[in-house]
Protein backbone atom coordinates (compact mmCIF):
# COMPACT_ATOMS: atom_id res chain seq x y z
CA UNK A 1 0.00 0.00 0.00
CA UNK A 2 1.48 3.39 -0.94
CA UNK A 3 2.40 5.84 1.76
CA UNK A 4 1.87 9.56 1.43
CA UNK A 5 4.67 11.65 2.91
CA UNK A 6 4.06 15.17 4.13
CA UNK A 7 7.05 17.37 4.92
CA UNK A 8 6.86 20.31 7.32
CA UNK A 9 9.45 22.95 8.27
CA UNK A 10 8.47 22.99 11.96
CA UNK A 11 7.31 20.53 14.61
CA UNK A 12 4.34 22.76 15.44
CA UNK A 13 2.88 22.40 11.92
CA UNK A 14 3.54 18.68 11.82
CA UNK A 15 2.00 17.97 15.24
CA UNK A 16 -1.46 18.98 14.00
CA UNK A 17 -1.25 16.66 10.99
CA UNK A 18 0.02 13.80 13.13
CA UNK A 19 -3.30 13.71 15.00
CA UNK A 20 -5.02 12.09 11.97
CA UNK A 21 -5.63 8.34 12.16
CA UNK A 22 -3.13 6.16 10.27
CA UNK A 23 -0.42 8.81 10.45
CA UNK A 24 3.06 8.19 11.82
CA UNK A 25 6.13 10.33 12.23
CA UNK A 26 9.03 9.45 9.93
CA UNK A 27 12.45 9.76 11.52
CA UNK A 28 15.27 7.69 10.05
CA UNK A 29 12.85 5.17 8.57
CA UNK A 30 14.40 2.13 10.23
CA UNK A 31 11.18 1.35 12.12
CA UNK A 32 8.42 3.02 10.11
CA UNK A 33 9.48 2.12 6.55
CA UNK A 34 10.53 -1.30 7.77
CA UNK A 35 7.00 -1.89 9.08
CA UNK A 36 5.48 -0.70 5.79
CA UNK A 37 7.81 -3.00 3.82
CA UNK A 38 6.73 -5.88 6.03
CA UNK A 39 3.11 -5.31 5.06
CA UNK A 40 1.84 -3.18 7.95
CA UNK A 41 -1.10 -1.34 6.38
CA UNK A 42 -2.10 0.48 9.57
CA UNK A 43 -0.03 3.46 8.42
CA UNK A 44 -1.18 5.32 5.31
CA UNK A 45 0.40 8.68 5.84
CA UNK A 46 3.82 9.81 7.09
CA UNK A 47 4.87 13.14 8.51
CA UNK A 48 8.40 14.46 8.76
CA UNK A 49 9.99 17.71 9.90
CA UNK A 50 13.06 19.27 8.28
CA UNK A 51 13.90 21.76 11.08
CA UNK A 52 17.71 21.53 11.36
CA UNK A 53 17.41 22.17 15.11
CA UNK A 54 16.17 18.59 15.49
CA UNK A 55 19.60 17.32 14.41
CA UNK A 56 21.61 19.40 16.89
CA UNK A 57 23.77 18.10 19.71
CA UNK A 58 24.39 20.53 22.56
CA UNK A 59 26.83 19.78 25.38
CA UNK A 60 27.26 22.52 27.99
CA UNK A 61 27.85 22.60 31.74
CA UNK A 62 27.67 18.82 32.04
CA UNK A 63 24.23 18.75 30.39
CA UNK A 64 23.54 17.09 27.05
CA UNK A 65 20.66 17.85 24.74
CA UNK A 66 20.24 15.58 21.74
CA UNK A 67 17.77 16.64 19.06
CA UNK A 68 15.32 13.88 18.18
CA UNK A 69 16.76 13.53 14.66
CA UNK A 70 20.33 13.09 15.89
CA UNK A 71 21.60 9.77 14.54
CA UNK A 72 23.42 7.01 16.36
CA UNK A 73 26.44 7.68 14.09
CA UNK A 74 26.49 11.34 15.14
CA UNK A 75 26.51 10.36 18.84
CA UNK A 76 29.13 7.65 18.34
CA UNK A 77 31.53 10.09 16.66
CA UNK A 78 30.93 13.17 18.87
CA UNK A 79 34.11 14.00 20.81
CA UNK A 80 32.26 15.09 23.97
CA UNK A 81 29.92 12.08 24.07
CA UNK A 82 32.57 9.36 24.37
CA UNK A 83 31.06 8.13 27.65
CA UNK A 84 27.77 7.15 26.00
CA UNK A 85 29.21 6.28 22.55
CA UNK A 86 29.22 2.51 23.27
CA UNK A 87 25.42 2.55 23.54
CA UNK A 88 25.06 4.35 20.20
CA UNK A 89 27.63 2.09 18.57
CA UNK A 90 25.67 -0.97 19.73
CA UNK A 91 22.78 -0.09 17.43
CA UNK A 92 22.73 -1.86 14.04
CA UNK A 93 25.48 -1.74 11.43
CA UNK A 94 27.05 1.43 9.97
CA UNK A 95 24.17 2.14 7.56
CA UNK A 96 21.53 1.76 10.28
CA UNK A 97 23.55 4.04 12.59
CA UNK A 98 23.59 6.71 9.87
CA UNK A 99 19.78 6.57 9.78
CA UNK A 100 18.46 5.52 13.20
CA UNK A 101 17.58 8.49 15.40
CA UNK A 102 17.40 9.21 19.12
CA UNK A 103 13.67 9.94 18.85
CA UNK A 104 12.94 6.74 16.98
CA UNK A 105 14.90 4.64 19.45
CA UNK A 106 12.45 5.68 22.20
CA UNK A 107 9.69 3.92 20.24
CA UNK A 108 11.65 0.83 19.16
CA UNK A 109 10.01 -2.39 20.35
CA UNK A 110 12.25 -5.05 21.93
CA UNK A 111 14.66 -6.49 20.84
CA UNK A 112 15.51 -3.06 19.39
CA UNK A 113 16.02 0.22 21.23
CA UNK A 114 19.43 -0.33 22.84
CA UNK A 115 20.07 3.41 23.06
CA UNK A 116 16.79 3.96 24.90
CA UNK A 117 18.08 1.51 27.52
CA UNK A 118 21.01 3.87 28.04
CA UNK A 119 18.67 6.87 28.22
CA UNK A 120 16.62 5.11 30.91
CA UNK A 121 19.72 4.44 33.01
CA UNK A 122 20.76 8.09 32.54
CA UNK A 123 17.35 9.27 33.81
CA UNK A 124 16.92 11.31 30.64
CA UNK A 125 14.13 13.79 30.00
CA UNK A 126 12.02 13.52 26.85
CA UNK A 127 11.05 16.87 25.30
CA UNK A 128 7.91 17.49 23.25
CA UNK A 129 5.91 20.64 22.48
CA UNK A 130 3.76 19.69 25.50
CA UNK A 131 6.70 19.86 27.89
CA UNK A 132 9.28 17.57 29.43
CA UNK A 133 8.66 14.04 30.70
CA UNK A 134 11.02 11.69 32.55
CA UNK A 135 12.02 8.92 30.12
CA UNK A 136 10.68 6.24 32.46
CA UNK A 137 7.21 7.79 32.36
CA UNK A 138 7.48 8.42 28.63
CA UNK A 139 8.37 4.81 27.84
CA UNK A 140 5.36 3.59 29.83
CA UNK A 141 2.92 5.70 27.79
CA UNK A 142 4.75 5.79 24.45
CA UNK A 143 2.09 3.75 22.61
CA UNK A 144 -0.47 6.51 23.04
CA UNK A 145 1.95 9.44 22.77
CA UNK A 146 1.04 11.63 19.78
CA UNK A 147 3.26 14.67 20.28
CA UNK A 148 6.49 14.65 18.25
CA UNK A 149 9.57 14.15 20.41
CA UNK A 150 11.91 17.08 19.75
CA UNK A 151 14.86 16.24 22.01
CA UNK A 152 16.16 14.29 24.97
CA UNK A 153 18.22 15.79 27.76
CA UNK A 154 20.42 14.26 30.45
CA UNK A 155 23.45 14.91 32.61
CA UNK A 156 26.61 13.72 30.89
CA UNK A 157 28.02 10.82 32.91
CA UNK A 158 31.72 10.24 33.39
CA UNK A 159 33.16 7.29 31.50
CA UNK A 160 33.74 5.57 34.89
CA UNK A 161 30.17 5.98 36.12
CA UNK A 162 28.36 4.80 32.99
CA UNK A 163 28.49 1.21 31.84
CA UNK A 164 26.76 -0.41 28.88
CA UNK A 165 26.65 -3.98 27.65
CA UNK A 166 24.85 -5.50 24.69
CA UNK A 167 24.71 -9.25 24.26
CA UNK A 168 24.15 -10.65 20.79
CA UNK A 169 24.84 -14.00 19.19
CA UNK A 170 26.23 -12.63 15.91
CA UNK A 171 29.65 -11.02 16.08
CA UNK A 172 30.53 -8.25 15.83
CA UNK A 173 26.98 -6.96 15.47
CA UNK A 174 23.62 -8.60 15.93
CA UNK A 175 20.19 -8.18 17.42
CA UNK A 176 20.11 -8.02 21.22
CA UNK A 177 19.69 -11.05 23.41
CA UNK A 178 19.61 -8.33 26.02
CA UNK A 179 21.26 -5.03 26.81
CA UNK A 180 22.08 -3.48 30.16
CA UNK A 181 23.02 0.08 31.05
CA UNK A 182 24.11 1.18 34.52
CA UNK A 183 24.84 4.55 36.07
CA UNK A 184 26.93 4.00 39.21
CA UNK A 185 28.17 6.50 41.78
CA UNK A 186 30.66 5.09 44.26
CA UNK A 187 31.24 6.35 47.81
CA UNK A 188 34.75 7.01 49.13
CA UNK A 189 34.80 3.62 50.90
CA UNK A 190 34.24 1.79 47.59
CA UNK A 191 30.58 1.00 48.15
CA UNK A 192 27.74 1.87 45.81
CA UNK A 193 26.28 5.27 46.76
CA UNK A 194 23.67 5.43 44.03
CA UNK A 195 22.76 3.29 41.05
CA UNK A 196 20.30 3.15 38.16
CA UNK A 197 20.17 0.03 36.00
CA UNK A 198 18.11 -0.31 32.84
CA UNK A 199 17.58 -3.44 30.78
CA UNK A 200 16.51 -4.08 27.19
CA UNK A 201 14.62 -7.21 26.02
CA UNK A 202 13.53 -7.94 29.59
CA UNK A 203 10.07 -6.58 28.72
CA UNK A 204 8.48 -5.19 25.53
CA UNK A 205 10.36 -1.94 26.21
CA UNK A 206 13.33 -0.86 28.34
CA UNK A 207 12.70 -1.28 32.08
CA UNK A 208 14.56 -0.54 35.32
CA UNK A 209 16.11 -3.32 37.38
CA UNK A 210 14.68 -1.91 40.59
CA UNK A 211 15.33 -4.97 42.76
CA UNK A 212 18.95 -5.19 41.60
CA UNK A 213 19.45 -1.46 42.22
CA UNK A 214 18.18 -1.85 45.79
CA UNK A 215 20.40 -4.89 46.32
CA UNK A 216 23.50 -2.96 45.26
CA UNK A 217 23.17 0.10 47.50
CA UNK A 218 25.91 0.20 50.11
CA UNK A 219 27.60 -2.89 48.67
CA UNK A 220 31.04 -3.27 47.16
CA UNK A 221 31.46 -4.36 43.54
CA UNK A 222 32.88 -7.74 44.45
CA UNK A 223 31.44 -11.19 43.65
CA UNK A 224 30.05 -11.42 47.21
CA UNK A 225 28.91 -7.79 47.24
CA UNK A 226 26.81 -8.04 44.10
CA UNK A 227 25.42 -11.53 44.79
CA UNK A 228 22.11 -10.31 46.29
CA UNK A 229 21.59 -7.92 43.36
CA UNK A 230 22.19 -10.68 40.82
CA UNK A 231 19.81 -13.02 42.63
CA UNK A 232 17.10 -10.35 42.43
CA UNK A 233 17.92 -9.14 38.88
CA UNK A 234 15.06 -10.91 37.09
CA UNK A 235 12.46 -9.70 39.59
CA UNK A 236 9.64 -7.86 37.87
CA UNK A 237 10.87 -8.70 34.36
CA UNK A 238 8.82 -10.17 31.53
CA UNK A 239 11.44 -11.03 28.90
CA UNK A 240 10.42 -11.29 25.27
CA UNK A 241 10.56 -14.51 23.27
CA UNK A 242 11.69 -14.09 19.67
CA UNK A 243 13.88 -15.95 17.13
CA UNK A 244 17.00 -14.66 18.94
CA UNK A 245 16.21 -16.13 22.37
CA UNK A 246 13.38 -17.39 24.57
CA UNK A 247 12.13 -15.56 27.62
CA UNK A 248 13.52 -18.40 29.74
CA UNK A 249 16.99 -18.02 28.22
CA UNK A 250 17.02 -14.27 28.66
CA UNK A 251 16.04 -14.59 32.33
CA UNK A 252 18.71 -17.27 32.86
CA UNK A 253 21.59 -15.26 31.39
CA UNK A 254 20.61 -11.84 32.76
CA UNK A 255 22.40 -12.31 36.14
CA UNK A 256 25.51 -13.61 34.36
CA UNK A 257 25.82 -10.52 32.16
CA UNK A 258 24.79 -8.10 34.90
CA UNK A 259 27.57 -9.62 36.98
CA UNK A 260 30.11 -9.12 34.20
CA UNK A 261 28.98 -5.53 33.73
CA UNK A 262 29.33 -4.76 37.44
CA UNK A 263 32.63 -6.56 38.01
CA UNK A 264 34.27 -5.28 34.84
Amino acid sequence: MPLALQTFPTVKDANATLQAAGTRYLGGGTLVIRAANEGDVSTSSLVRVTDPGLSQIAVAGGKVRLGASVTMAAIASHPELAAIAPAARAVGGPAIRNMATVGGNLFAPAPYGDFAVALLALDATVVTEDGETPVETFLAVRDTSRAIVTAVGFSLPTAESFRFLKVSRVKPKGVSVLSIAALLEMAADGTVASVRIAMGCMADRPIRALAAEKGLLGRKLTPQGIAPALAAAAEGTAPITDPIASAWYRAEVLPVYLGRLLLN
Binding site: P2, L3, A4, L5, L26, G28, G29, T30, I33, R34, A36, N37, E38, L46, R48, A73, G92, G93, P94, A95, I96, N98, M99, P172, K173
Partner: protein, 160 residues
Amino acid sequence: MAKVPVEFTLNGSEKAEFIESGTTLLHALRDKIGDTSPKGGCHQGTCGACSVIIDGELRLSCLTLAETCNGADIKTTAGLAKGGVLHPLQRAFLDAFATQCGFCTPGMMMAAKVLLDRTPNPSRDDVVEALSGNICRCTGYEPIIQAVLLTARANSQNAA
Protein backbone atom coordinates in the same frame (compact mmCIF):
# COMPACT_ATOMS: atom_id res chain seq x y z
CA MET B 1 -1.88 8.41 -5.19
CA ALA B 2 -0.29 11.71 -6.04
CA LYS B 3 2.99 11.66 -7.91
CA VAL B 4 5.82 13.75 -6.58
CA PRO B 5 8.93 14.97 -8.39
CA VAL B 6 12.36 13.80 -7.27
CA GLU B 7 15.68 15.08 -8.50
CA PHE B 8 19.08 13.88 -7.42
CA THR B 9 22.54 13.13 -8.72
CA LEU B 10 23.15 9.43 -9.34
CA ASN B 11 26.77 8.45 -9.96
CA GLY B 12 27.47 11.93 -11.31
CA SER B 13 24.44 12.28 -13.62
CA GLU B 14 21.36 14.35 -12.90
CA LYS B 15 18.20 12.28 -12.57
CA ALA B 16 14.62 13.55 -12.42
CA GLU B 17 11.53 11.38 -12.06
CA PHE B 18 7.92 11.55 -11.02
CA ILE B 19 7.28 8.86 -8.45
CA GLU B 20 4.42 7.87 -6.17
CA SER B 21 4.73 9.41 -2.74
CA GLY B 22 6.08 6.80 -0.33
CA THR B 23 8.24 5.01 -2.91
CA THR B 24 11.49 3.70 -1.45
CA LEU B 25 14.76 4.81 -3.00
CA LEU B 26 15.51 1.15 -3.77
CA HIS B 27 12.30 0.84 -5.81
CA ALA B 28 12.88 4.18 -7.53
CA LEU B 29 16.46 3.28 -8.48
CA ARG B 30 15.69 -0.20 -9.73
CA ASP B 31 12.27 0.15 -11.33
CA LYS B 32 12.10 3.80 -12.39
CA ILE B 33 15.68 4.83 -13.11
CA GLY B 34 17.03 1.43 -14.12
CA ASP B 35 20.00 1.12 -11.77
CA THR B 36 19.63 -2.47 -10.58
CA SER B 37 22.92 -2.59 -8.70
CA PRO B 38 21.32 -2.11 -5.25
CA LYS B 39 19.58 -5.39 -4.41
CA GLY B 40 16.36 -5.90 -2.48
CA GLY B 41 17.14 -8.64 0.01
CA CYS B 42 15.17 -8.37 3.23
CA HIS B 43 13.53 -4.93 2.87
CA GLN B 44 13.95 -4.79 6.66
CA GLY B 45 17.30 -3.10 7.08
CA THR B 46 18.93 -6.36 8.12
CA CYS B 47 20.88 -7.64 5.10
CA GLY B 48 22.60 -4.55 3.67
CA ALA B 49 22.21 -5.67 0.02
CA CYS B 50 20.48 -2.38 -0.85
CA SER B 51 23.27 -0.20 0.62
CA VAL B 52 23.99 3.00 -1.29
CA ILE B 53 26.04 6.10 -0.47
CA ILE B 54 23.97 9.25 0.05
CA ASP B 55 25.94 12.48 0.52
CA GLY B 56 28.98 10.46 1.53
CA GLU B 57 27.16 8.30 4.12
CA LEU B 58 26.22 4.65 3.86
CA ARG B 59 22.43 4.25 3.88
CA LEU B 60 19.90 1.54 3.22
CA SER B 61 17.88 2.39 0.12
CA CYS B 62 15.07 -0.01 1.12
CA LEU B 63 14.32 2.09 4.23
CA THR B 64 14.83 5.49 2.59
CA LEU B 65 11.97 7.24 0.80
CA ALA B 66 13.07 8.54 -2.60
CA GLU B 67 11.39 11.90 -2.08
CA THR B 68 13.59 12.57 0.97
CA CYS B 69 16.63 12.43 -1.36
CA ASN B 70 15.84 15.57 -3.35
CA GLY B 71 19.10 17.34 -4.14
CA ALA B 72 21.20 14.49 -2.75
CA ASP B 73 24.36 13.02 -4.23
CA ILE B 74 23.76 9.27 -4.53
CA LYS B 75 26.37 6.71 -5.43
CA THR B 76 25.76 3.05 -6.23
CA THR B 77 27.99 0.17 -7.27
CA ALA B 78 26.89 0.74 -10.89
CA GLY B 79 28.99 3.90 -10.82
CA LEU B 80 32.23 2.27 -9.66
CA ALA B 81 33.66 1.12 -13.01
CA LYS B 82 34.77 3.95 -15.30
CA GLY B 83 34.95 3.54 -19.07
CA GLY B 84 34.98 -0.26 -18.88
CA VAL B 85 37.80 -0.28 -16.32
CA LEU B 86 36.92 -1.93 -13.03
CA HIS B 87 37.22 0.03 -9.79
CA PRO B 88 40.05 -1.26 -7.55
CA LEU B 89 37.44 -2.70 -5.17
CA GLN B 90 35.82 -4.66 -8.00
CA ARG B 91 39.23 -5.87 -9.15
CA ALA B 92 40.10 -7.00 -5.62
CA PHE B 93 36.76 -8.79 -5.15
CA LEU B 94 37.54 -10.80 -8.28
CA ASP B 95 41.16 -11.48 -7.31
CA ALA B 96 40.24 -12.54 -3.75
CA PHE B 97 37.25 -14.68 -4.86
CA ALA B 98 35.05 -12.48 -2.67
CA THR B 99 31.97 -12.98 -4.83
CA GLN B 100 30.05 -16.22 -5.13
CA CYS B 101 26.34 -15.75 -5.83
CA GLY B 102 26.99 -12.01 -5.99
CA PHE B 103 23.79 -10.82 -4.37
CA CYS B 104 25.48 -9.15 -1.40
CA THR B 105 28.41 -7.84 -3.46
CA PRO B 106 27.06 -4.38 -4.42
CA GLY B 107 26.15 -3.64 -0.80
CA MET B 108 29.50 -4.94 0.44
CA MET B 109 31.29 -2.71 -2.06
CA MET B 110 29.37 0.37 -0.96
CA ALA B 111 30.16 -0.33 2.71
CA ALA B 112 33.81 -0.94 1.80
CA LYS B 113 33.99 2.22 -0.32
CA VAL B 114 32.76 4.44 2.53
CA LEU B 115 35.34 2.84 4.81
CA LEU B 116 38.25 3.29 2.37
CA ASP B 117 37.22 6.86 1.50
CA ARG B 118 37.56 7.77 5.19
CA THR B 119 40.16 5.27 6.36
CA PRO B 120 42.59 4.51 3.51
CA ASN B 121 44.59 2.04 5.62
CA PRO B 122 42.03 0.20 7.74
CA SER B 123 42.85 -2.54 10.22
CA ARG B 124 41.15 -5.91 9.88
CA ASP B 125 38.85 -4.92 12.77
CA ASP B 126 37.93 -1.71 10.94
CA VAL B 127 36.91 -3.77 7.91
CA VAL B 128 34.88 -6.24 9.98
CA GLU B 129 33.10 -3.35 11.69
CA ALA B 130 32.44 -1.57 8.38
CA LEU B 131 30.90 -4.70 6.86
CA SER B 132 28.96 -5.64 10.00
CA GLY B 133 25.63 -4.48 8.56
CA ASN B 134 26.00 -6.60 5.41
CA ILE B 135 25.10 -10.27 5.31
CA CYS B 136 26.76 -12.81 3.01
CA ARG B 137 25.52 -16.40 2.98
CA CYS B 138 28.15 -17.78 0.57
CA THR B 139 31.69 -16.75 1.32
CA GLY B 140 32.02 -16.91 5.08
CA TYR B 141 33.14 -13.26 4.89
CA GLU B 142 36.89 -13.92 4.98
CA PRO B 143 37.46 -13.47 1.21
CA ILE B 144 35.45 -10.22 1.36
CA ILE B 145 37.52 -8.91 4.27
CA GLN B 146 40.69 -9.88 2.37
CA ALA B 147 39.43 -8.12 -0.78
CA VAL B 148 38.94 -4.86 1.12
CA LEU B 149 42.38 -5.12 2.74
CA LEU B 150 43.85 -5.93 -0.69
CA THR B 151 42.24 -2.80 -2.14
CA ALA B 152 43.69 -0.68 0.65
CA ARG B 153 47.18 -2.12 0.05
CA ALA B 154 46.90 -1.62 -3.71
CA ASN B 155 45.72 1.97 -3.22
CA SER B 156 48.60 2.82 -0.88
CA GLN B 157 51.14 1.26 -3.28
CA ASN B 158 49.72 3.29 -6.16
CA ALA B 159 49.86 6.43 -4.05
CA ALA B 160 53.49 5.81 -3.05
